[in-house]
Structure formats: C-alpha cells, structure tokens
Amino acid sequence: MPATAKKGEILEIRIIVQHDMESGFRHTETGQRVPRDIIRDFRCTYNGLEVFRVELHPAMGANPLIVFTTTATESGTLEFKWSGDNGYASSTTSALTVT
C-alpha cells in the first residue's frame, strides 16, 4: 500500500504471509493424513477500527495473498493481523499519511 494518500482516496492493499496452509486433506507417502493447520482469520484495523475481515478455510491457497481496498480517511496506522490453528499469530503495521 502507499505511504501517503489524499483524503477520500481508495487505496489498494496487497498483503501476503508465509504459511503452508496445510489443508488437512493431504497424505504422506505412507498414507498418513497430514493434520490441518491453517490461518483462520485476517483482520485489518485502521487506527484501531476494524475495516476489513476475512474468514479463511482450508481451500485458501498456501502463502495466502489478499488484495483489498480501504478509504484513506485520516493519517495513522493500519494494522494487519493473522491468526489460526495451533496458536498461530502474526501481525504487521503500516503508517499512512493522509493529506
């Protein structure tokens, strides 16, 4: 996403996270099922307010990529949080200056 924007501008945000998204449907060569281990939830907050949320299921691809939009309303911080199975949690932030 850009670091600056005009008020009211619609920003495109592309985010990708490194995660195998083990679907739970794969088997090893010896026939054992590989247990499900996926990211379940993604949220984007803008100065603390949730502006976008995603519920992920096993059919989401590995290393999930999401491209979405949000309106530049005021300067501040966007926070991006992933959470999932086995206590997985990851987050990052991005500063935005709105003129």
């Binding site: 619609i10 059919a59 989401m60």
Partner: protein, 138 residues
C-alpha cells in the same frame, strides 16, 4: 528424504457434492432469496494446477453508509469442503473488489454470495476446468 512428499489429492469419497455446497449456501441465506446479478466472480476458465488459483470477486455497490456490501462468501461445488473464504466489509472499503488465491480440487462451479447491508443477497458464479500437473511425486 527430508521433503515431506504429500499427495494433494483428497480421497475421492471425501469430495463434497453439489448438495454440500447448496447446504452451505442455504446456511448463509437462512431462507432468504439470492438474486443473480451485481456479483462478478473471475476465475481462469482453465487452471493448470488447482493448488493456487487466482480468484477475483467484485460486487457493484456504491459502498456508502446507505448501500454497501456487508459480506461476500465463496462456496465451491467440487471441493472436500464447500466453504472457501468469507470477506467482511464496511463502507470504509470504498469498493467491493477482492483478489485472492484459492484451492480447487476438481473442475467445478464456484459461487459467490454477497450480503448487502439491507439484508438482501445477490449471487454470481464461475465455472472452471482444473487440470492435474504431469509427473507428480506419487
């Protein structure tokens, strides 16, 4: 060998039927109708490998406080589980257009159900052919 070579093919009897997908959609709709229109689902008509398929969904909507898309649900008719992903938006989105990458286990129809702020539903779909990679591990 250190690589965990795992088959990506689910056992055939685990593949969801169209009925499972219909049930999943019914659960979302809770008895309300879903009109066809306003929702565009873009998936390549021919997919080289179902493990990572780029998918774009967009809904015609002004995305104002008065008229916006609250949620978009993606349901697959040929995967082991029908629910693929659900997006939850607000007027802050500006546009209802999302791109992501999904898994498709077989050639199938994929459906997108959009719920509006007034409680109404709209839907769209896309059909695709999923081919298998040549010379796999197992």
């Amino acid at each position: 060998m250190s690589a965990a070579a795992a088959s990506v093919l689910p056992s055939l009897n685990a593949l969801a039927t169209v009925d499972d997908a219909t049930q999943a959609v019914d659960k979302i709709l809770s008895g309300r109708p879903a009109k066809v229109g306003r929702v565009t689902l873009e998936i390549p008509p021919l997919v080289e490998n179902g493990n990572l398929v780029t998918m774009k969904v967009s809904v015609q909507s002004p995305m104002t406080e008065a008229d916006y898309v609250r949620a978009i649900h993606i349901v697959a008719e040929g995967n082991p589980l029908p629910n693929v992903v659900s997006f939850f938006l607000s007027p802050r989105a500006g546009r209802a257009a999302i791109t992501t990458r999904i898994r498709l286990g077989d050639s199938q129809r994929v459906r997108a159900i959009a719920q509006m702020n007034d409680g109404s539903f709209w839907q769209g779909d896309a059909a695709t052919l999923v081919t298998l990679a040549a010379c796999t591990e197992v």
